[in-house]
């Protein structure tokens, strides 16, 4: 359980909140690059950390992320005309560039200096990999760009999707470091999902449903090791890295691509789940990429033209009791992504953590909450830069390995949990 005041501290990310300020120390995903595919693409409404913004790309292809509302009388710039190196409000024609600078106020005299004093709040928007990242904090403290491996391997080796999740970011993120649910909730996927099935590790997973855990600090966050019995004298370890505040990776299975998530607050009751899949050393096969597009693995099948999952709260996640009975799925909901999302959303928009009964197996979650709280308070009270801001902290990987029982996963897996270009993932 968690005290109510701490629950509020961790779940509120709007401007001026301690957790909001913490998120504003980092580059975070704002959109997929595919949402602004070309020069003068239609602008896109973006809400992050409880701030409403508009993303657009000007006639030179530059990216901008600005206050959604016009400085004149507050109309949404989403209706604007994106042309001639700027975005022009559809109401009275005020025009802004990608930095939010007003460049034209038609009602003023030509060459008037009035518009120089009009500037919308704007944040940098930068493409790294298939994601457009933004940094919403103090420009003087802007860190180096993200170095997560999924965003740096060649384009043919990586795929990223996103989906709207109707709950607070923290309960979504907590699912990402909660290794003990896999054998239950996702048991169907281990057998059937094209991006999961067939790995030797899955057998260990299914045979031993009572994993043991080790939780250790890393420079940027945590490593959570889940250990199951393997052959006599050895353990099967699944190692999940967390890089603060909201990046997690799933341990790999066989030679399947490696996957993970970025959990980004939209507001306090909604978040974006970015799901990526990449292979460190080879292109994704056509079949793999198609499976990802079709919503297998950690991805979701979304309503065409949107990032809302086709199975969602409004249709009971397409619950299939027959499939549940047959054992095709454990919960009756299809797909790993929606199995997670359905249960996390079922907790309510912001789960009441004063009512939990945690067990020692939840220690990864307990420790992560504590690290977030400490980092938010150290930032607020002493201005301490939190873990995970330094791009060097991003170069981690998940791993799945079989080790002799006496060995510590941390000592044996230093290389396995480090992202080294050109080196394959450690996977069973």
């Amino acid at each position: 359980m968690l005290r109510q005041d701490i629950n509020e501290l961790l779940t509120q990310t709007g401007p001026g909140t301690p957790m909001g300020d913490l998120f504003r120390q980092y580059w975070i995903p704002a959109l997929l690059a595919e949402e602004l595919p070309e020069k003068d693409s239609p602008p896109v409404r973006v809400k992050l950390l409880s701030e409403r913004m508009l993303a657009f790309r000007d006639s030179e292809g530059r990216y901008g992320l600005v206050d959604e509302f016009c400085a004149h009388r507050g109309a949404s710039l989403w209706f604007g005309r994106n042309e001639g190196s700027g975005l022009r409000c559809a109401y009275h024609g005020w025009k802004y560039d990608v930095t939010g600078q007003c460049v034209e106020v038609p009602s003023e005299a030509d060459n008037s200096s009035f518009c120089q004093n009009v500037k919308l709040t704007a944040y940098p928007l930068v493409r790294v990999g298939d994601v457009l990242w933004t940094y919403m904090g103090d420009p003087a403290k802007q860190p180096g760009l993200p170095e997560f491996e999924f965003a740096h391997v060649p384009p043919e080796q990586t795929y990223t999707s996103k989906r709207w999740q109707q709950c607070n970011w923290l309960q979504a993120f907590e699912g990402g470091i909660d290794s003990s649910h896999v054998t239950f909730l996702h048991s169907g996927g281990l057998k059937n999902d094209p991006l999961f099935k067939g790995a030797k590790g899955n057998e260990y997973n299914m045979k031993d449903t009572k994993p043991f855990f080790e939780v250790a600090d890393s420079e940027g966050g945590l490593f959570v090791g889940a250990r199951r019995n393997a052959e006599e004298g050895s353990y099967y370890w699944r190692i999940t890295p967390w890089v603060m505040p909201a990046f997690t990776m799933v341990p790999p299975r066989g030679d399947h691509p490696v996957h993970g998530h970025f959990w980004v607050p939209i507001d306090d009751e909604n978040c974006w789940t970015y799901s990526f899949d990449y292979h460190p050393v080879r292109p994704l096969t056509t079949a793999e990429r198609q499976a990802m597009i079709d919503g297998h693995g950690v991805h979701s099948k979304n309503i065409p033209g949107t990032y809302r999952p086709a199975a969602n709260m409004d249709n009971d996640y397409l619950m299939d009791r027959e499939a549940q009975k047959r054992g095709d799925t454990y919960s009756g909901v299809a797909g790993i992504a929606m199995q997670d999302a359905s249960l996390q959303e079922s907790m309510g928009p912001i789960v009441d953590r004063t009512k939990e009964r945690l067990v020692p197996a939840d220690s990864g979650i307990i420790k992560a909450r504590q690290k977030l709280r400490k980092a938010a308070i150290a930032l607020r009270d002493e201005g301490v830069t939190p873990p995970g801001v330094n791009p060097a902290h991003h170069r981690v990987r998940s791993a799945a390995v079989v080790l002799p029982q006496a060995e510590s996963f941390l000592d044996s897996c230093r290389d396995a949990v480090t992202a080294i270009p050109g080196v394959p993932q450690s996977s069973v």
Partner: protein
């Protein structure tokens, strides 16, 4: 009418209809410090607002009158210095949190872990420090501890106990 039960049930307004009953402390926890530094941490943590937790060390509390050696392979003492037998300490508990900061308690770690496993008591180990000074203690705990928290942060003990509602 709502389109689905999920949309209805998970709304913020429905949350206030959840049944609220006070949650009794779920666990009768025992916290056992394996070495001197761990004992110091345990004494600090023991002052917290715990319902059922009891605290022990594997060495005599300074100044207290614990002159008798406790029976068995683990020399356990309550924080007041009174000796205790491991079997009695484990009796009626369902979670044991073992604290270590170095290797001096490795033999105790193994014995406590074995005893907990034999009695189906969930064991959690918190290893404070950079971990390297307590490698053997970690190795001794590993087969038995459902979770090992390798931590640089003494407040993890407090957080763990709070989260477990002991």
């Amino acid at each position: 009418m709502y389109a689905s039960e999920s949309a209805r049930a998970a709304s913020a307004s429905e949350a206030r209809y959840r049944i609220t009953v006070p949650i009794a402390p779920a666990r009768a926890a025992r916290v056992i410090a394996l070495d001197a530094r761990a004992a110091a941490v345990t004494r600090r943590v023991a002052g917290g607002p715990w319902a059922n937790a009891r605290f022990y060390t594997c060495e005599v509390t300074r100044g207290a009158g614990g002159s008798n050696e406790p029976a068995g392979e683990v020399p356990l003492y309550g924080l007041d210095g009174s000796p205790a037998a491991l079997g009695d300490v484990l009796n009626g508990t369902d979670v044991v949190v073992v604290l270590a900061t170095d290797d001096s308690g490795r033999a105790y770690a193994a014995a406590i872990g074995r005893a907990c496993s034999a009695s189906a008591i969930t064991t959690a180990g918190v290893v404070l420090g950079d971990g390297f000074e307590a490698e053997d203690a970690v190795a001794a705990l590993r087969p038995h501890a459902r979770v090992l928290l390798l931590s640089a942060d003494e407040s993890d003990v407090f957080e763990l106990l709070t989260a477990l509602r002991v």
